[in-house]
């Protein structure tokens, strides 16, 4: 096991004694070289979880093991430097994640320079990484605002990979990009994971992307894991009513012979913020199959098979 997330919670204190349970007792594992998808709608806590994994914010309870050792709650400067070549992150906002003052090659060389390499070597290595992520050498001296969204995301990937991490956390890396560019970036991530044997946590709201790219998937709703397992299995036979709703709501290109897409009933209600949640299934209010039990006790995680487990009373 490369990464073990064990009952990790992250709460945020709000005004008037309210508590936002952004991430609530989430557990999952990531194997070396494996791509794990985390899907959920806005407010599901998937981005907060992603940040906990890289040490941006510390969990209120639970722990994260990396290669068997527990990661510190608060990172010291030494911890940061040590973990830099282990876990890296790619961000959704390609503008905000690149300093407007640094050129492309400076961005990529940053990690190497921090690590103590001399400037010349760092820049040479950085240039070779720019080439590897498909950025033409003529772009090396460009500033982020002179690059397109896709090019900026390639730059973010090059920055993360230049320090040769074992695990890459990708927080919605393509959701701000155009469709044709999305495919380029997904291909790039896939090729890199194959060639570098890189493990990935891929956070996204787009089910079809996760289905395409990921080996395993974790479905989150209001801070809780609803279902997790083998990606193909979960999407083909979703066990949790929420996963079922998510799959049926996800826009798919309609097949001519398939008229169900237009006739399905959308699930009612909207995602709420998990503020002072009661002990119950968080999806119970919107669930068409909910029973009394669903409103009164939290469901345990039940293994449907070796590849799939579901947090639902009804299975």
């Amino acid at each position: 096991m490369l990464l073990q997330v064990e009952a990790v919670s992250r709460y945020f204190k709000l005004a008037r004694g309210r508590m936002l349970h952004a991430v609530d007792e989430v557990s999952f594992n990531v194997d070396g070289g494996e791509i794990v998808g985390i899907v959920g709608e806005s407010g599901s806590g998937k981005s907060t979880l992603g940040r906990l994994l890289v040490g941006l914010g510390s969990p209120n309870s639970g722990q994260i093991r990396y290669n068997g050792t527990v990661l510190p709650r608060e990172y010291s400067a030494r911890d940061r430097l040590r973990m830099a070549s282990e876990i890296q992150m790619i961000f959704q906002d390609t503008r905000g994640s690149l300093s407007p003052r640094l050129t492309a090659v400076e961005v990529v060389a940053e990690g190497l320079i921090i690590r103590g390499e001399n400037r010349l070597n760092a820049h040479n290595t950085a240039r070779s990484w720019l080439a590897k992520v498909g950025l033409d050498h003529s772009l090396a001296e460009r500033y982020p605002h002179e690059l397109s969204g896709g090019q900026r995301q390639r730059l973010g990937i090059a920055r993360a990979l230049a320090v040769e991490p074992q695990l890459l956390v990708c927080d919605e890396p393509v959701s701000a990009l155009d469709v044709s560019v999305q495919a380029q970036i997904i291909n790039l991530l896939y090729e890199i994971s194959q060639s570098q044997n890189l493990a990935m946590v891929f956070i996204a709201h787009d089910l079809s992307l996760v289905q395409l790219l990921c080996d395993r998937v974790v479905v989150m709703y209001m801070g809780k894991v609803m279902e997790q397992g083998d990606a193909a299995t979960v999407f083909r036979q979703p066990g949790h009513p929420y996963t079922q709703a998510l799959v049926s709501s996800s826009p798919q290109v309609r097949q001519i012979e398939d008229s169900t897409a237009q006739n399905h009933q959308p699930i009612p209600g909207e995602v709420q913020a998990p503020i002072n949640p009661v002990a119950a299934c968080r999806f119970a209010d919107r669930c068409s199959k909910a029973e009394a039990k669903c409103h009164s006790q939290p469901p345990p995680m039940i293994a449907l098979s070796e590849q799939q487990s579901v947090a639902c009373h009804l299975v």
Binding site: M83, D93, E146
Partner: protein, 452 residues
């Protein structure tokens, strides 16, 4: 459909190198881009030009315009603008005219000598005269009572006028008062005194060589903006005053913003309880009343009223000025720390010093510059205000505020004495404000102008 004529190779595959690559605009650094945006704003450019002119004038002006701003010219007090007049050298001496005037002396008075140092008038004596009354007017009298300024009386048929003479037309009227109390006005005398300067005074001021004698002519120093109530050159004083005003106006905000940036940077980066305490202290400083603080500081430093207050003024402006920029920088740092590029650097193992030097401070620079360009006119205005009310700069040093104060007293007779320093203050304050505006607009770069 229109008939198109195809070339034979039109439908052959396009070679890879024939695809039009879009030329990518040249890489511009952040500051190059800021300058590009700043440049297109005419108001910003105008303000930059005005300020450059004002500052170079104040810095280089005294080197070119080398008149001593504290040289008092009692001969040429409150002159209007003039350039290089020619004066005749005279030596004031006791005048002992002949008791018996020449026969040719008519009943009409004549001027024996007419310079700005003295006008000597003589006329034929009349019998049974008790006094001769002398009056001076600046134009021809309209009637017999319109004789102008009474100068005094003489018992002899001559008179020497030394009262505040200028090189202009005077009309003298001599009125004879007889022993039987009747009065008769003599025919008026029109005189235009020649500009003159006392020989010893001219020697003292180094205008003439030791060998010069009475009757030689000498070119007096020019006063393009005239002179003040003590005959000091207004232009020279304006340049000297500008140095003081700009010195205080630039140094105080620079130091205050620098200190504030460090203070705010530490508070913002440390966060938590330290930040809380540091910012409450800054709030306390902001709450202090400036004027009271300034007066107490003067007392504390043992500087009495009327003594020069440049140092206490500088100190007060710095001590009360830093919290504003501290707040600003702290806010910026807190905001920047949320940026994902700072997070990314953190994940790459960056320590606090690296973050501050590489990411936080360079990005705070812009707002700091804007804050500075707004703090400068504030400080200049504060200096002017304090000097105007007499708390700041006092003689022999001067500043635009002090000059305005002095000019204020002469506003009715010589309004230019107030106009010049006031215009300088206004131009500088306006210039820096426009500069700040332009900078703010230019720095607010929506980095969305690159290729789509």
């Amino acid at each position: 459909m229109s008939e198109l004529h195809y070339q034979p190779d039109d439908f052959e595959a396009l070679p890879e190198n024939a695809r039009q690559q879009q030329e990518i605009p040249p890489g511009l650094s952040y500051w190059a881009k800021v300058w590009l945006r700043f440049r297109v704003n005419p108001r910003s450019l105008l303000s930059l030009l005005t300020l450059t002119l004002l500052i170079s004038m104040v810095l280089l002006g005294p080197l070119i315009w080398s008149q001593d701003p504290s040289q008092i010219w009692l001969e040429s007090r409150l002159q209007d603008s003039q350039g290089g007049l020619v004066a005749v050298l005279v030596e004031p001496e006791l005048w002992q005219p002949n008791i018996r005037p020449p026969v040719t002396v008519p009943a009409r008075p004549i001027a024996l000598l007419a310079t700005t140092e003295q006008v000597r008038i003589q006329w034929a004596p009349l019998a049974d005269v008790r006094h001769y009354w002398l009056y001076r007017h600046t134009r021809m009298p309209q009637d017999k009572d319109d004789v102008g300024l009474p100068l005094g009386y003489s018992d002899t048929p001559w008179y020497e006028d030394q009262l505040n003479l200028k090189s202009r037309l005077y009309v003298y009227t001599v009125v004879a008062e007889f022993t039987d109390d009747t009065q008769v006005a003599l025919p008026v005398l029109e005189v235009t005194p020649q500009l003159a300067i006392g020989l010893s005074s001219a020697r003292l001021q180094g205008l003439v060589a030791e060998s010069a004698i009475v009757g030689d002519t000498v070119t007096l120093p020019a006063h393009p903006l005239g002179t003040d109530a003590l005959g000091r050159d207004t232009l020279a004083r304006l340049l000297l005053g500008g140095r003081t005003s700009l010195f205080i106006g630039l140094i105080a905000p620079l130091v205050a913003v620098f200190l504030g940036a460090i203070y705010g940077g530490i508070a913002g980066l440390t966060g938590g309880r330290t930040d809380e305490i540091m910012m409450r202290f800054a709030d306390f400083i902001i709450a202090l009343p400036f004027l009271l603080f300034m007066i107490l500081l003067k007392v504390l430093l043992g500087i009495g009223p009327g003594e020069n207050g440049i140092m206490p003024m500088l100190l007060a402006l710095i001590i009360l000025g830093w919290p504003a920029s501290a707040r600003l920088v702290r806010g910026q740092i807190l905001q920047l720390r949320q940026q994902d590029y700072v997070n990314a650097a953190l994940l790459l193992g960056a320590n606090r010093r690296y973050l501050l030097g590489r990411h936080l401070l360079p990005n705070v620079m812009g707002v700091l510059l804007v804050a500075l360009s707004f703090a400068i006119p504030q400080a200049i205005f504060a200096e002017a205000f304090l000097s105007f009310i007499g708390l700041g700069v006092t003689a022999p040093a001067t500043s635009w505020g002090t000059l305005s104060n002095e000019g204020m007293r002469l506003i009715l007779s010589h309004p230019q004495q107030l106009l010049f320093p006031a215009a300088c203050i206004s131009l500088t304050v306006l210039g820096f404000n426009l500069l700040g505006d332009g900078l703010r607009d230019a720095l607010d770069i929506q980095m969305q102008e690159g290729p789509a």
